[in-house]
C-alpha cells in the first residue's frame, strides 16, 4: 500500500481508474442509505418503551400534590428539577424544564436576548449596532443556523482535543463588546467527539467579557453519552464560575432526545438563579408551562441518576459496535493512503473526518451519486463554508450494522476517488 501523495501520476491514474470501476459497480448495486444525521436507531429507542408502559395513574401527582395533567409549575415539577440538578451538580433553583427540544430552548434564549436583552445587559442584542458569536469549528450546524437566522456575525475558533482555542476566545470576548456569545458542545463535541479539558472549563469561567450581555451557550447534549469503558470527564462549569463570580455568564442546555425518544423527551435549561428567575418571568408571557406528564414519566422511569447511567450503558452496547465497525472500515480502507484523519471518540454520535483539502464536497457528491446521503460538506462551519473543504461529519448511529458497513465502504471509496482527482 502506497500513500497517494507518494505515487507517480501514472500510478494515481491507474488507481483512480480501478476505483471508478468499483464505484460504478456500487452505483449499480443501488444502495439507499441516509447517514446524514445523528439519529438513534430503533433498537436504542426500544430501550425506553417501558417508560411508556408505566401505569398512568401513577403519573398524576407530584410529591407536593400538583396534578401534572393541569396547568401550573411553569419551571417544571420538582422531581424533574431535582433529578437534573443531581445529574449536573447544581441546585434545583438552577433548573428550568423547558419542553422537549433543547434546540428550541437555545433558539428561544437567543431570541429573548435579541429582542429583550439578557439579565444584567444594558440593551437587547438586536438593538445594538453589531452582534457577533464565536463558533468553535468544526461544530454543530444547527447552532450556526440559529445565529445566522438572527443576522449575528459568526467567527470561527479552532477546536482542538482539549476544546476551543481559549487564547483566541479570551482575546475576542475580553476586547470586543460586540461578541455576545459562544456556541459550545463541551462533552463528546459534535462532530469531533472531544471533551473540553478542566483547563478549558476554567478558562471559560475566568472570562471577563467586554460586553455586559455575553453568554456561553453550553450545549451539554452528550453529557451521559459515553459508549466506551472510560467516560471523559467534564468539569462542572458552574462550580468553576462560582470561584470566579461569573455564574450569570453561562446558559447550559441538555435534553433526553438521545436518551429516551428524539423529540419526545424532556429538555432542560440550567443557569444561575438570577438568570433562571429573569427568564422564567419572560417565559411566563409565552406559555403556561410544558408537558409535566412527560417530566414525571421520565423521572419515574429512571428513578434516580444512577438509573439513568444504567440506561445509558444499555444504549452504549448498541452504539459501540457501530462506532467500532465504522472505525474499522476507515482503518481498513484508508490507512496507508494518507487521504485523511478521523476522530475516535469515547462517546457522542459522530466521527469527524478530515480529508485532503478540496475533497469534502466532491466526496459528498460522489456518495450521493451512489445512494449514500451524508451530512453536506461545510455543515460544521459557520455559513456552511469549510474554508479548506476537507471536513465531513460521519453519523454511524442510525443504520443497521450491515448497512453501515456498506455505507462506510462506499464513503471510503468516494473519499479515495476525490483525493486522487485532486492529486492528478
Amino acid at each position: 500500500m502506497k500513500a497517494y501523495i507518494e505515487m507517480t501520476t501514472e500510478e494515481r491514474l491507474a488507481a483512480l481508474e480501478e476505483l471508478r470501476g468499483q464505484f460504478e459497480e456500487e452505483k449499480a448495486a443501488g444502495l439507499k442509505l441516509d447517514m446524514s444525521r445523528g439519529k438513534p436507531d430503533a433498537t436504542q429507542l426500544n430501550l425506553s418503551m417501558d417508560m411508556l408502559q408505566q401505569n398512568p395513574y401513577d403519573l398524576i401527582f407530584t410529591r407536593k400534590g400538583t396534578d401534572v395533567r393541569n396547568y401550573g409549575e411553569l419551571a417544571g415539577v420538582d422531581e424533574a428539577k431535582e433529578f437534573f440538578a443531581d445529574l449536573l451538580g447544581v441546585k434545583m433553583e438552577n433548573v428550568f424544564m423547558g419542553g422537549q427540544s433543547s434546540l428550541a430552548l437555545l433558539y428561544d434564549t437567543v431570541m429573548k436576548a435579541y429582542v429583550f436583552g439578557v439579565y444584567g445587559g444594558s440593551k437587547p442584542w438586536g438593538k445594538q449596532e453589531k452582534c457577533k458569536f464565536l463558533c468553535p469549528v468544526p461544530g454543530y450546524d444547527r447552532h450556526f443556523l440559529i445565529t445566522q437566522e438572527f443576522g449575528i456575525e459568526m467567527i470561527s475558533i479552532p477546536l482542538s482535543e482539549t476544546g476551543p482555542d481559549m487564547e483566541m476566545v479570551k482575546e475576542y470576548v475580553e476586547n470586543d463588546p460586540a461578541v455576545k456569545g459562544i456556541w459550545c458542545v463541551p462533552k463528546y463535541s459534535n462532530p469531533t467527539g472531544c471533551t473540553y479539558s478542566p483547563e478549558t472549563v476554567e478558562a471559560f469561567a475566568a472570562l471577563k467579557p467586554a460586553a455586559d450581555d455575553f453568554r456561553i451557550f453550553w450545549d451539554n447534549a452528550y453529557f451521559v453519552h459515553c459508549f466506551r469503558e472510560k467516560d471523559d470527564e467534564l468539569a462542572n462549569i458552574f462550580e468553576a464560575c462560582r470561584r470566579h463570580g461569573s455564574e450569570d455568564m453561562v446558559y447550559e442546555f441538555l435534553s433526553t432526545s438521545k436518551v429516551t425518544f428524539s423529540g419526545a423527551g424532556v429538555a432542560v435549561f440550567i443557569a444561575s438563579e438570577a438568570n433562571v428567575k429573569f427568564l422564567t418571568r419572560q417565559i411566563s408571557v409565552q406559555t403556561l408551562g410544558y408537558d409535566k406528564i412527560n417530566q414525571l414519566r421520565h423521572v419515574k422511569f429512571f428513578k434516580n441518576v444512577e438509573g439513568l447511567w444504567e440506561h445509558m450503558k444499555k444504549q452504549a452496547d448498541y452504539l459501540r459496535p457501530k462506532f467500532d465497525l465504522a472505525l474499522a472500515v476507515l482503518e481498513d480502507e484508508l490507512s496507508g493512503f494518507e487521504v485523511g484523519r478521523w476522530t475516535n471518540p469515547n462517546g457522542g454520535y459522530f466521527i469527524s473526518f478530515d480529508g485532503l483539502p478540496g475533497t469534502a464536497k466532491r466526496t459528498v457528491e460522489l456518495c450521493a451519486e451512489a445512494g449514500l446521503k451524508i451530512t453536506p460538506a461545510g455543515s460544521c462551519f459557520p455559513y456552511g463554508k469549510d474554508p479548506e473543504d476537507k471536513n465531513i461529519r460521519l453519523c454511524p448511529s442510525y443504520p443497521s450494522l450491515k448497512k453501515l458497513y456498506q455505507g462506510m465502504r462506499l464513503f471510503c471509496m468516494c473519499e479515495k476517488i476525490a483525493a486522487l482527482e485532486t492529486l492528478v
Copy 2:
C-alpha cells in the same frame, strides 16, 4: 327586594352594615379557593386517562411508516394534520402541529413577525416605527401580555354579542399601516362567551389592510367546548377568506389543553399554504420537531372527529352543572339589586360579569380578604386597565360544586358591598 340605586342613603347604609356583618362571618369561616383561571377539574381530566392507557407499541409508526419516537416530520404526523384539518374544515397542507401550548404558538408567531417579518411583508414589525394591535374587550389577558411584552401599542375595540365592532376594526385596519394584528377568540370568547356572527367573520375576511403585514390572530381555543344542547355556530374564516382572496391574512390556533390535558395536549397552527410553508422554514431553524408520540396518542384516542365531539359531550356533562350553579347563585343573590349584568354562554370556560363602574377592583380585594382568589380586575383589558373598573371574569370550571357554591355566594356578597360602598 329593592335596587340599590333606588334606595335612600339610610337604606344603603343599613344594607351595607348587614352585609359587612355577613362578610365578617364568611371571613371567619376561612374559605380558601382559587377561581382565578379557567382550569379543568380532575373529573374532566380523568376522562382522558384512557389516552394514556393505550399500548405504546401501537403508537410507534405512522401510516406512512415514520417512527414517531425519532426525529423528523417537523410539521407533525399526517394523521394529526388530517384530523385537525377535518375538524376545522381546511386541508392538511394548512395544518402545522406545534407542541403542546397554543399560547406558545401565538407568542412564537408574534415573535417571528416582530424579528423576521411575515410572508409577503416588506419589513419585520420590530424594524418599523410603530406597531399596533387591536384588542376586542373584554378579552384574554394572556393575549394582551404578549403584545405588551413586545412593546406593541394596544387599541381596545368594543366586543358585542356578535363579535368586535367591525366598523371600528375596518376603520383602523384599512387606514393605519401601523395596525399589524388583532386578537380574536371567535367562539365562546374569553371571557364573554360570545361567538362571532357569520357577518362578523365575513367582515374579517373582507378586510383590506393598509399594512402589507397585517394578521388576524384567530385563537379558536373553545371551538369544541359547547356545554349546552345547542352549539354556537362559527363560520369557517378560511372559506370566507377564499372568496375574498385574503387567506394569507389569518393565523388560526387551537389546542387540546382543555380537551385532554392542560399543558400536555397538542397545539395546532392553521394558515394558508403560503404562510405554513414560510413559517415551517423558519421553525426548521428552531427545532427538529415536536412530540409526535403525543400527536399519535391523541389521534388514536379520538379515532376521528366524531370521537372528539363525543368526548367533549362527556366533558360538557361535568362543566354544565358548574355553570348552571354559578348562574343560579348570581341570579339568586343579585337579581333585583341592579348591581351588575353577566353573560350566560353556551360554551367555553368563563362568565363575564359587569358590575357598577368603579367596583371591580374593590370586589376582587374583598374576595381575597375572605379567601377567594378571582381573576384580577382589569385583566381582560390591555395593560390590565379596565377604564370603567367594572368587569370581572368568573371561572367556574375548577372548584367542586360545593366550593363553587361557597365561592359564588361570597363573590355576590363582595359585589354588593362594593356597589353599596360606591353608592353611599
